[in-house]
């Protein structure tokens, strides 16, 4: 039978090499958009399950010569693709009974939590992107009940190892857990665990917990030992760094992941900014799942210089799900709806003087950034960082008195408030302005134990205001049920960060409706940040919820704030201004 060319597997390079007749090549290029249009004669396609499936039917139409070994690999990969997709589908739709982890857990896990654990054990990897606060930790703990995953490694944020250890102790008390204490390797064989049973030195712990930072020093040591890895808040892997200056944190994660049989990423917000970041995350969780970086960019992204944006987020989100790479369940999906959450943007005043003060140095920086030519790249980068920082801080300061008043209004009407900010200077101002309310602090300055103390003081009600850093609290548990108001006194550049912040309060255990107030000034950096947020949000929403409704009702912010103001006046025995209509 006539053949049109050859298909060879370059195993060590994880790619297929195709050589075929020109007219067949034209067809091929049409099918694989990621293949460069200009490549002649020979093209390469990454060895992914997805591509294997497509190649299979391509060679059915245009016969290519394939060695028996390569052919077997193609069939295997393509079968994996079919199975993975139908497995995830069947488990989620409930057509396939999931493994019953509750026989071995000390306390029961919910059905949907078990399903996620099951997918990892059967498929090897998963990005679990359930909505904030649905209990992703327990899905990971489910997998640890299967000894094939042990020793397991959990990589999490700096303030969370303790919380993980507590959860494991609660649900799987027989597991021996060790939190890494130093950034450099030390002997782990004296901790105690199932080591011997697993064919390792007796005394190796069952679960090792570390933060991302320490992993850098431990990656080489741990890679050959651990059999599964969980990347908690895996948006930490969104940055890979430019070639030649790769992020050490990223490389460490990539190294460990390459060795392990089971990989799981947990995050309600798997990317923070533009969609292109998802490739970096998936490259660790499921290497080659999305093809090479170039393939991913050509196929899915429009490049905005170094920040690739996904051109059709809906299509991409659907693809990720159907390929079984990612699952995301909303509260509604799993029938654990919380009382409603309203996000209320609210304009506040800003003191023009505070912004004016930095005008001189800001325009100098702006000139550097806008300078023509490539020669000043590093300088430009630093100037943009500095300008963004200066402007945002000035905006934070300019808003501070109004933000503090707003928070006071909430507190004096009987509420507790988590207030988010970013700059130390701004925290300091808030602290002074709200001194009589004895606010507690949970920011970059406090040590882990001080942070814990602040959290306790807030939970116990000794402090009615908790001032938190926008980026310090991802994953933190225990504030829900104690508070139902979140105030953003400063804005972050990433919508994911805001989601995380709201998730501290809006999670399982919350019994009241939650209101998140975004206090936005009409001057300074806020309008620009808001614009960028809108842009990024459309990417994230599109990928995570491809079938979401186009319009949803926005709880009327005005009403909320008006009600609040009225309650405040009434409590102080003051009369309401004439003609105040306050909907109840």
């Amino acid at each position: 039978m006539k053949t049109y060319g050859t298909l060879q597997l370059e195993h060590e390079k994880h790619r297929w090499r195709l050589e075929c007749e020109p007219h067949v090549m034209l067809r091929l290029k049409r099918l694989f958009a990621s293949v460069g249009k200009r490549s002649h004669g020979v093209v390469y396609v990454a060895d992914t399950e997805e591509n294997a499936r497509d190649l299979e039917w391509f060679i059915d139409r245009y016969r290519l010569e394939v060695s028996p070994r390569a052919s077997a690999h193609l069939v295997k990969q393509s079968l994996m693709h079919r199975e993975r997709a139908s497995l995830v589908d069947a488990l989620i739709a409930g057509r396939m009974p999931p493994t019953d982890f509750n026989r071995v857990l000390a306390l029961p896990a919910r059905g949907y939590q078990q399903v996620a654990g099951d997918i990892v054990l059967r498929g090897g990897s998963l990005l679990l992107a359930d909505e904030v606060g649905l209990g992703k930790t327990l899905s990971a703990i489910c997998t640890f009940t299967d000894t094939r995953t042990l020793p397991a490694l959990v990589v999490t944020l700096t303030h969370l190892p303790k919380q993980w250890a507590n959860e494991i102790a609660k649900f799987a008390p027989s597991l021996r857990v060790h939190i890494l204490k130093k950034g450099t390797p030390y002997d782990l064989t004296r901790i105690g665990g199932r080591g011997k049973q697993l064919g390792l030195s007796a005394g190796t712990p069952d679960v090792i917990i570390t933060n991302y930072h320490k992993l850098t020093g431990w990656a080489e040591t741990l890679a050959p030992v651990v059999r599964s890895v969980v990347f908690d808040e895996c948006q930490e892997l969104r940055r890979r760094g430019a070639p030649g200056e790769r992020s050490q944190k990223y490389q460490a994660a990539e190294h460990v992941a390459r060795y392990t049989q089971f990989r799981m990423g947990l995050s309600a917000t798997p990317f923070y900014n533009y969609g292109g970041e998802i490739w970096n995350v998936m490259n660790v969780l499921r290497p080659d799942g999305l093809g090479t970086e170039t393939e991913f960019h050509t196929e899915w992204c429009v490049s905005a210089a170094d920040k690739p944006r996904i051109s059709d987020p809906h299509a991409f989100g659907t693809f990720m799900r159907e390929a079984g790479m990612m699952i995301r369940r909303t509260r509604k999906d799993v029938g654990r709806e919380l009382p409603p959450l309203s996000k209320v943007p609210h304009h506040v005043e800003a003191d023009p003087e505070a912004i004016e003060k930095i005008a001189g140095s800001a325009s100098e920086l702006a000139r550097i950034i806008l300078r023509q030519g490539e020669s000043h790249r590093g300088e430009k980068f630093h100037a943009s960082e500095e300008l963004s920082n200066k402007l945002r801080q000035a905006t934070g300061i300019a808003k501070a008195p109004y933000v503090a008043e707003f928070v006071r209004l909430l507190v004096e009407s009987g509420e507790k408030v988590v207030l988010y900010g970013w700059h130390h200077e701004v925290y300091r101002l808030w602290g002074e302005l709200l001194r009589d309310l004895a606010p507690a602090f949970f920011t970059g300055v406090q040590s882990i134990s001080e942070k814990d103390k602040s959290k306790q003081a807030f939970v116990a009600g000794e402090s009615r205001v908790l001032i938190m850093s926008l980026r310090a609290g991802a994953g933190l548990d225990g504030l829900q049920g104690k508070c139902r108001n979140v105030v953003f006194g400063e804005l972050d550049w990433s919508p994911g960060v805001h989601e995380q912040c709201i998730g501290r309060v809006y999670r399982d255990g919350q019994i009241d409706p939650v209101v998140a107030y975004f206090l936005v000034a009409e001057s300074g950096s806020d309008p620009i940040v808001a614009d960028v947020l809108g842009l990024k949000k459309s990417q994230i929403d599109g990928v995570l919820e491809p079938t979401g409704a186009l319009v949803e009702h926005l709880d009327q912010g005005d009403g909320n704030v008006k009600r609040l103001a009225a309650a405040f006046l009434l409590q102080r025995g003051l009369s309401l201004p004439a003609q105040t209509a306050v909907a109840s």
């Binding site: 996000k343 998140a516 309008p527 620009i528 614009d531 842009l535 990417q539 186009l550 926005l554 912010g557």
Partner: protein, 119 residues
């Protein structure tokens, strides 16, 4: 322009959060909302060389998720010159579009900033 129509638009659009990945999707969302609220509208009406996104009783409504201030200003100005148009409304997700003149060709121009859809 009828004062009350602009107010109704402002209130209606302000009461919703739109999910969109493109300008077209945002327009679809707005159309969905108008229909649900019983606001009659015409989409893609030809005004001279341009097509305006929505047209309601003499008011040209343009929806924007990007575009420079000057480009958008020029576009709105062209609408304002059309004899059928009595007023122009810009529905935008961009704060920078707030700096629009409020009168063009002696016709009122209103900007509705969809801040609620940003967060």
């Amino acid at each position: 322009m009828s004062e009350s129509l602009t107010l109704t638009l402002r209130r209606t659009l302000g009461s919703a959060r739109f999910r969109y990945t493109s300008e077209l999707e945002l327009q679809d969302g707005i159309a969905e909302l108008f229909t649900a609220r019983g606001i009659a509208f015409e989409r893609e009406r030809q005004l001279g060389p341009d097509r305006v996104d929505f047209f309601i009783a003499g008011i040209a409504i343009e929806v924007k998720i990007e575009g420079s201030l000057s480009d958008v200003t020029r576009q709105l100005h062209r609408y304002s010159e059309h004899p059928d148009v009595t007023g122009v409304v810009l529905v935008t997700t961009r704060a920078r579009h707030n700096a629009m003149p409020n009168l063009m060709t002696a016709k009122p121009v209103d900007v509705i900033h969809l801040l609620g859809s940003v967060f």
